[in-house]
Amino acid sequence: MIGNDIVDIAEARQKSDWQRPRFLEKLFTTKEQQIINKSDNPFLMVWRLWSMKESAYKLYTQLHPSRFYNPKQFACEIDDSQGKVRYKDFVCYVKTNTTSQYIISEACLVKANMVSECIEIESRLSKNQSDTIKAKLLLTIAQQFNILKEDLTILKSDFGIPSVYHNSKKLNIGISISHHGNFGAYAIV
């Protein structure tokens, strides 16, 4: 099981204003707000923590099928490159990579290496973006398991959690998909 989240840095700069009143207190714990304020680059820290929370939420909802919006309760800790996120009695490990263009986080129940593949997407349409990533993900699975890509589909549960199906049989593969701005990411475990 895996959860990932990508943030397009240019998109975050353009479409969100982390400095607007009450933005930080709505999304981040007091401790996280301190981390942000002390950071050399508060903007990047905001989006790093955000992607950690989102990836942890995506993992949590696979274990506990549900849908809600409560990022603040997904409390982040960071030491070096390895982070931890807690929500109630749920704990997961989150790795983050930051490039000049995007921030990618990946949540797992155990400490593991990053497996997410990031791709740049040309289309600005949300639907096309998600189709591009899904096609790439299915192609990778088809090659890995030596099966026909045409027999694979991705279906989402009522809670929006995606799974891979071979013909109509659900495969025991953990996946996660994310897109934001010009970037997409997919993870397979």
Partner: protein, 84 residues
Amino acid sequence: MTNDELITKLKAIVAPYVQNEDAFKNLSKNTDFVNDLKINSANLVDIILDIEDEFDIRLENEDMEKMLDVKATIEIINTKLANK
């Protein structure tokens, strides 16, 4: 405020974040911000802050938790307005 007036105000608030214009044109009580309007989850907080400003209310974490669709959002705004 009637629900129709509320929906009109809400429509104006969500408009800048919408990524599916067809779903936006047909916005109803059953419209989901993420699944239907394809609003990025990073922008949900902006909608919440815009609602606070527009209606002069404050939304708590418990309120935000449910604010994923028009129906739940209208219910929460109505409750907050009634308690003002």
